[in-house]
């Protein structure tokens, strides 16, 4: 594990930007900014003609660190720990679970809670609980 600093101000500002993005996607396209929902619709079969817009949204997320690099001269490098097998398993679980449950941290955690959706509250409490339980298990018990 890698120690990280508590960054309340930066995290609050970053969070506000995520919220601003969700509000802009709603006013522009009338869509919930749920990354898992948008990402799964990049895969065929296609139910509507919104593929290019969805691809553009995900591309915007992908290039964000490069924009930070251009603007500040340094881009934050993610600390990714774990073997290839573990990362593949984690990816499968995250992908499967988020689509099976109709949303992830953004769709349920941000947009759903903002709409006071009980379903999203149940979803958010559930994924927070299993994620915390898993980290407790792997870091403190195993």
């Amino acid at each position: 594990m890698t120690a990280t600093d508590f960054t309340p101000v930066a995290s609050l500002i970053g969070g506000a930007l995520i919220g601003a993005s969700a509000v802009m996607l709603m006013v522009a396209k009338g869509r919930i900014a749920g990354v898992s929902g948008i990402a799964v619709r990049l895969l065929p079969p296609y139910a509507d003609k919104e593929l290019a817009g969805r691809l553009a949204f995900i591309l915007g997320i992908i290039v964000a660190p490069l924009v930070v690099l251009l603007a500040t001269g340094t881009a934050p490098v993610p600390t990714i720990e774990g073997s290839t097998a573990l990362l593949a398993l984690a990816g499968l679980l995250v992908g499967f679970g988020s689509v099976w449950g109709n949303g992830c941290t953004s769709g349920h955690g941000v947009c759903g809670l903002s709409r006071l959706s009980v379903r999203s509250l149940v979803a958010t409490l559930t994924f927070m609980a299993t994620a915390m339980a898993n980290v407790f298990l792997t870091r403190h018990l195993l």
């Binding site: 509000v23 679980l93 609980a129 299993t130």
Partner: protein, 149 residues
């Protein structure tokens, strides 16, 4: 025009993730690690990300949903499901286990594609595979879970 705007909106989302520190799985895992509270290793930053995001979205949605329709036309697509079924527990439970394993949820996984090298690519490919599988399984005519009628 609509495509360019959606790119810009995605960029704001990604910048938010990077500025918030959420593009780093170590920060996410240290939030999820409640067991580190006694030793001072807990990083509560993610709660501030959610707080900031929900505050803006809560008031922002109220404001923009007064419009008759979105700027680029069509209608507002708001989720209508309200039932608490097996899927709304099982899906997030599985997602959370994966989130706790690597510290990546879908948004940050995409930001890591540019700076995270091969490990990030492996995660994203596996994630897309998982997403496709879930949609395929959900679209099968014979349901594996009880559906609300």
């Amino acid at each position: 025009m609509s495509i360019l705007v959606q790119f810009a909106i995605g960029l704001v989302f990604g910048l938010g993730l990077v500025i918030a520190g959420m593009s780093d799985p170590a920060k996410v895992l240290n939030f999820l690690d409640l067991g580190a509270i006694p030793t001072g290793g807990w990083d509560p930053s993610l709660a501030f990300v959610l707080g900031g995001a929900i505050t803006v979205t809560f008031f922002g949605f109220k404001f923009v949903l007064r419009r008759a329709q979105p700027i680029f036309g069509g209608s507002f697509h708001l989720p209508t499901a309200t039932d608490i079924d097996a899927r709304i527990i099982a899906g997030p439970a599985i997602f959370g286990i994966g989130w706790g394993l690597a510290g990546f949820c879908p948004g940050p996984a995409f930001t890591a594609l540019t700076t995270g090298g091969t490990p990030a690519l492996i995660f994203v490919v596996a994630m897309l595979l998982g997403m496709g599988s879930a949609r395929w399984l959900a679209s099968r005519p014979v349901r594996l879970t009880p559906q609300a009628t």
